[in-house]
Symmetry: C2
Subunit: 181 residues, 2 copies
């Protein structure tokens, strides 16, 4: 599979797949990071049929997520950490879809990056208490899109991918600073 490539002058080209898993709706967004510039390659939402069984829904999510990964060969999968202020039933439902998504990451040897909601909001908007609308608006600006990405699931997935790239850039910067000290 494609690994992180070196471009001329040492600029790294990294592809990040942000993903927001759910048994009914799984948002995804693929971005390419080249130095400081971010490009949106693809985004969308895997919606499962209401009339099919849970195993069939999971199979559909697995097939379609595998299709996205096979098409874009992302290096990193970025997903939000799940917090448990929600009820256990919701956590269980999300868990089942998330298990299938993480399986795709492992099958393609992708690196997993788990981000807290605060990390995502801080990276995209600049502060950790930003509203959903602010996150969507800034996602559009950062990726230079003509319009705000829809639906929400896809926008969340793209925001997660952006946050992952910001974290990487920051980490790389810190490492350079440490090398100088």
């Amino acid at each position: 599979m494609r690994r992180i490539l070196s471009k001329p002058f040492g600029v790294m080209l990294v592809r990040i797949l942000g993903i927001d898993p759910g048994t009914e709706r799984t948002g995804y967004g693929v971005i390419e990071v080249s130095g400081q510039s971010l490009t949106c390659l693809d985004y969308g939402c895997i919606i499962t049929d209401k009339g099919i069984s849970l195993p069939e829904k999971l199979l559909s999510i697995h097939e379609r997520a595998t299709g996205v990964v096979a098409k874009w060969s992302p290096d990193i999968m970025a997903v939000e950490q799940v917090f448990f202020s929600h009820n256990a039933r919701t956590a269980f439902q999300v868990g089942q879809a998330r298990g299938v998504i993480l399986l795709v990451a492992a099958a393609f040897g992708m690196e997993l990056d788990e981000l807290s909601p605060v990390e995502v909001k801080s990276a995209v908007v600049g502060y950790g208490n930003a509203s959903k609308e602010q996150v969507k608006a800034m996602t559009r600006v950062i990726l230079g899109l003509d319009r705000v990405p829809e639906p929400d699931d896809a926008a969340d997935a793209l925001a997660c991918a952006i946050a992952s790239s910001v974290k990487r850039t920051f980490k790389a910067h810190l490492e350079r600073v440490e090398d100088r000290v």
Copy 2:
């Protein structure tokens, strides 16, 4: 894939895979149902390495569960329903492993049978408040095993498969009675 076969004199041969999923330990047990007789074909526990990442654990569970299904071609997957008296964190962890297991069921076109803990205990021991030890002892007796199946995860999985077969038999019996009325 193998489908439910008719034996001479109309006795149905059905294979049931009971499974007790978890990210650290996934118990499984395969039984064959031929009329009133149950035979244990296989049981065991998929234990994931402590040192590997969650996606790698899920990949390992997926591969090994697929191996069991490919070997025995069960018609039905029997899993316990998860109740949410536990905390959300546990539900989420179990959910991730369960998603991967249900994916295997869908990929092989298996029928899914979800059983409540009370259904399992009632079917195996005769009353819904039975202890874990009673369930294990009766699992041994019902399947005619030389010793109590170990570890607990495998015994739970076998109990689940037995309960699924009891439910089927009872349902078939009810249908016959209804036909007569």
